[in-house]
Amino acid sequence: MDAYNQESYCGAVRPAERESPKKEEDDAARSIETYDGELQDKKRRRRVLAGRILVGIFLFAGWELFTRIGWMDPYYWSSPSEILKTAWVQLTEGTLLRDIVYTSGSTVIGFVTGTLTGALLGLSFWWSKTYAGISEPFLIILNALPKLALGPVLVILFGIGFFSKAVLAFLMTVVTSAISAYGGVKSVDPALETLMVSLGAKRRQVFTKVVVPWSMPWIISSLRINIALALAGSIVGEFISSEQGVGRMIIYAGTILDINLVWVGVFVLSILSMLMYWGVILLEKWLSKRLAIISS
C-alpha cells in the first residue's frame, strides 16, 4: 500500500506519518472490520472534532467564569473577554498589526536564509572528506552552543533594529539545517555513486543527480523544527532590545503591569507559531511532490 503513496519519504524521518499517529490505529481497526471501516472512520473523526471544540469551549468558559467569580485572580489571569477586548483595541488603534508583521518578517527571513545556507553547507560536505572531517567538530560545538545567549552580542553588533532579530533567527536555524543535510549526505548509498560513475558521470553530476535528491528528505525533515527555532530567535531578539515586534510588546506590557496586553501577546505568538507551522507543512508537501520523493 505504502508503495503507492507518492508523498511518503525515503528518509529515516517520515513527517507525514509522524503528524498523525492516530492514523495507525484507524488502519488497524479497518483491517478487523473492513465492511464498514470507512463509515466508522468518518464517525470517529467527527466525534474527535466535536470533542476538541467542546474541550476548547469548556476551558475558555471555565477561565472566564472562575475569574469573574474570583476563584482565579483576574489581576494575573485576566479573562478571555478582557484579552479579546484589549486585542481588538490594539489591532484597531494600537500597533499590534505592525508588530505582527515585524516579528513574522524577521522569523521568515531568518528561517529561509538559515535553512538554505545550512542545507548548502551540509551538502557541500560531500565534496571533500577532509573538509567535512575538519568541519564536523565545529558544527557539533555550534549546535551545542546556546545561540540565544548570543542575543546581546548580536544586538551590540547589528543594532536594535530588524537586522539583529533576523540574524538571531538565522543562527538558530542554520546549524540544525546543516546537520540534517550532512546526515543525508553521509547516508547516500555508495553503490548509487558507483552506478553514476559507471555511466560516465562527473562528480558534479553525481552531486546534482544523486546526492541532492537523496538528501532532500533530511533537509525537509528539519523544516518544522527550524520554523519554531526561528520564531524563538526573533522573539528573544525583541526581548533583549527592540522598538517593534510582538516580543517587545510583551516585555513592554510586563514593565507597565498591563497583564491583559501580556496575554494578548502570548496568544498572538501562539497563533503566529501555529500558522507558520501549517505554512511549513504546506511547503513540505509542495517540496516533496515537486521532487517526487518516494519511499524506497
Binding site: T194, S198, L199, G200, Q205, A292, I293, S296
Partner: protein, 262 residues
C-alpha cells in the same frame, strides 16, 4: 587471436589492502571474447567476479594487467562499457522512464531525444505503460528489466551483467533469460555475464568461464555447442545435461578447498 577479439583481459589481478593486510581477490586472469559473443563467468562466491567487472568497467585499477577493447587499453576509463551492477540501483525518486534515460542524460543528450529513443524500447521489451511509474511500484523482474534497458540505452558495444537475475524466483528467471536472449539477438552486443546458476550459464552462453575459488582465476573455458535460437526445451536435452555435469564437477572441485579454509 587478438584481431578478432572485442574485449581482452590480459593478466589482470587484484590485491586489496584491508586493515594493513593484503587480500588477493583475483589472481592473474586472461579472457578474450569475440565480438557479438555471449560469455558467462561462473565461480564460487567471493572469487572476484564483481571485482573483475569493476576493473573492466574502469571503476578501479587492476594491481597487474590490462584490459583492452578493440586493442585499446580501457583501464580506469569509466563509461566505455555498459555495466549493470549486482543490485538494480534504480533511483527511487525518478520514474522508470527517467531512470532508463539516465545514461543519455549524463552524456548530455536532450531529454526529448532520449525519451524518443527510450519509449520504443520500453514498449518492445516489456515495460510498456510503466514509464511514469516509480521503481518501488515494480516487481523484481520489472526492475531488472528497467536496469538492463538503462544499460542497453547507454549504448556501448560491450555489456557487463553481474548476476542480474540472482534475486528472482525460478519462474521469472526463465522468462527473463529468454527476454535477455531476445535483446542480445536484436542488438548484437558482446556480453559478459556473471552468474552462480549453472543452468543459466549454459542456456545463455556461447562460452562459459569457470573460475577457481579466491583468489579467482580462469580454471576452464567451456564452449556450449547448442544451436541458437535456444528454447526452454534445450534445458532437458542430453547434451545440456552432460555440459551441466561437467561444469558441476569443475565447480565442486573448486568449492571443497574453499570450504576447508573458511
Amino acid at each position: 587471436m587478438s584481431e578478432s577479439c572485442k574485449i581482452e583481459v590480459i593478466g589482470v589481478s587484484k590485491i586489496f589492502r584491508r586493515d594493513g593486510k593484503n587480500v588477493a581477490a583475483l589472481a592473474e586472469t586472461n579472457l578474450a571474447v569475440r565480438e557479438g559473443r555471449f560469455a558467462s563467468i561462473i565461480g564460487p562466491s567471493g572469487c572476484g567476479k564483481s571485482t573483475l567487472f569493476n576493473i573492466i568497467a574502469g571503476l578501479m585499477p587492476p594491481t597487474t594487467g590490462d584490459v583492452t577493447v578493440d586493442g585499446q587499453s580501457i583501464v580506469c576509463r569509466a563509461g566505455t562499457v555498459g555495466y549493470m551492477l549486482q543490485k538494480d540501483l534504480l533511483l527511487p525518486w525518478r520514474t522508470i522512464l527517467d531512470n532508463i534515460i539516465l545514461g543519455l542524460e549524463i552524456r548530455g543528450e536532450p531529454r526529448a531525444k532520449a525519451v524518443e529513443r527510450a519509449l520504443p524500447l520500453m514498449e518492445k521489451y516489456g515495460l510498456k505503460g510503466f514509464d511514469s511509474h516509480y521503481p518501488n511500484e515494480l516487481s523484481g523482474g520489472m526492475r531488472q528489466r528497467a536496469a538492463l534497458l538503462r544499460t542497453l540505452l547507454y549504448d556501448r558495444d560491450i555489456m557487463l551483467l553481474d548476476e542480474p537475475f540472482g534475486a528472482l524466483d525460478a519462474q521469472t528467471r526463465l522468462s527473463m533469460q529468454n527476454w535477455l536472449l531476445e535483446i542480445w539477438k536484436d542488438f548484437g552486443k558482446t556480453v559478459l555475464f556473471v552468474t552462480h546458476d549453472i543452468d543459466e550459464a549454459v542456456y545463455l552462453s556461447d562460452d562459459v568461464y569457470v573460475f577457481s575459488a579466491r583468489p579467482g582465476r580462469v580454471r576452464a573455458k567451456i564452449a556450449v555447442p547448442i544451436e541458437r535460437p535456444r528454447k526452454p526445451e534445450d534445458l532437458t536435452t542430453e547434451r545440456f545435461m552432460e555440459l551441466k555435469h561437467h561444469l558441476l564437477e569443475l565447480l565442486s572441485e573448486e568449492r571443497d578447498p574453499a570450504e576447508e579454509i573458511s
